[in-house]
């Protein structure tokens, strides 16, 4: 399956979705002008991946910042991941960023996927 690889920018996160190498990561800053448009290819990719996923998937969020419109789409991403067997989330936050830690905890309460929290 094709690799989805988007370079990050000052207002969009870096995305790597690579089934073959088992790398699934969203990192950086997310405040795009149109968050629905930005996240659509990611949601499409996850839907296709869900047809024939790896036995186990570790999906990494390593976000420095996201705006509220992105938070809605991140929940959509998590909801799409929720339907895939063997899914686990690793949620990174900067060690002094309590708000990002709390955001991860809130997402973990909204979906039925195991979350692991790590600092960087």
């Amino acid at each position: 399956m094709d690799i989805l690889n988007l370079e990050g920018a000052e207002d969009t996160p870096k995305i790597i979705l690579d089934k073959g190498n088992g790398i699934f990561e969203i990192s950086g800053r997310s405040l795009p002008e149109d968050s629905a448009e930005f996240y659509q290819p990611i949601l499409d990719w996850i839907e296709a991946y869900g047809e024939d996923p790896n036995p186990a998937t570790n999906f990494v969020f390593k976000l420095e910042y996201f705006n509220t419109a992105s938070s809605k789409l991140i929940l959509d991403v998590l909801s799409a991941l929720e339907d895939i067997d063997g899914m686990a989330i690793t949620w990174y936050f900067h060690e002094d960023d309590e708000d990002m830690e709390e955001a991860g905890e809130e997402f973990s309460e909204l979906v039925e996927i195991p979350f692991e929290f790590k600092t960087y």
Partner: protein, 179 residues
């Protein structure tokens, strides 16, 4: 040309470190954000405060970008003001834009509701909205004010000045304590 000196003095007297008046777009939002970030970096601002200021700025600026043209086409459509104030103990993020009076009523209700909630109340309101709301046509999640209140930890201050007809000028101030 005295207005230049007056404006300069107004900025100094109100401790304003940045004032932008004009059209608001995503490109301008990014420029203002990077200016403010550089400013805070050069002053050695603490990273947790920087993040909070950045957070509130993004929501305030994107509110204007998304809703600035709600009053329709015309001279003042999509023109608004954005201000950052800073004194020894706090940052103030201020935005001002024209709205229709029906919008003004909705905004008042929404902000009053948010201001009536404590930390836990804001958290449950946030979760309720993110779980149940769809993105608006303009791509907003309906979470901007809630997030500004949560990240700043302070009440949102607002005022409406009547402009003309059914148009009001909506000013919103969020305060972030530095210590």
């Amino acid at each position: 040309m005295k207005y230049v000196y007056d404006l300069h003095n107004t900025m100094l007297n109100h401790n304003l470190i940045l004032v932008y008046e004009g059209e608001f777009t995503q490109e301008i939002t990014k420029s203002i954000l990077s200016m403010a970030e550089r400013n805070m970096d050069s002053l050695g601002e603490e990273s947790s405060i920087k993040r909070k200021v950045f957070n509130v700025m993004v929501e305030a600026l994107q509110n204007i970008v998304k809703h600035g043209d709600d009053i329709g086409e015309g001279l003042s459509a999509n023109r608004a003001i954005f201000i950052i104030g800073k004194n020894e103990s706090q940052y103030q993020i201020v935005s001002g834009n024209s709205v229709k009076s029906e919008t003004a009523d909705k905004l008042k209700d929404k902000i009053d509701q948010i201001n009536s909630l404590d930390k836990d109340g804001l958290k449950s309101l946030y979760k309720d909205i993110i779980r149940n709301n769809k993105l608006s046509e303009k791509g907003g999640a309906g979470l901007g004010f809630v997030d500004m209140a949560r990240k700043s930890g302070s009440k949102l201050e607002y005022s409406f000045e009547s402009v003309e007809g059914d148009i009001s000028f909506f000013s919103l101030k969020t305060t972030i304590e530095r210590f």
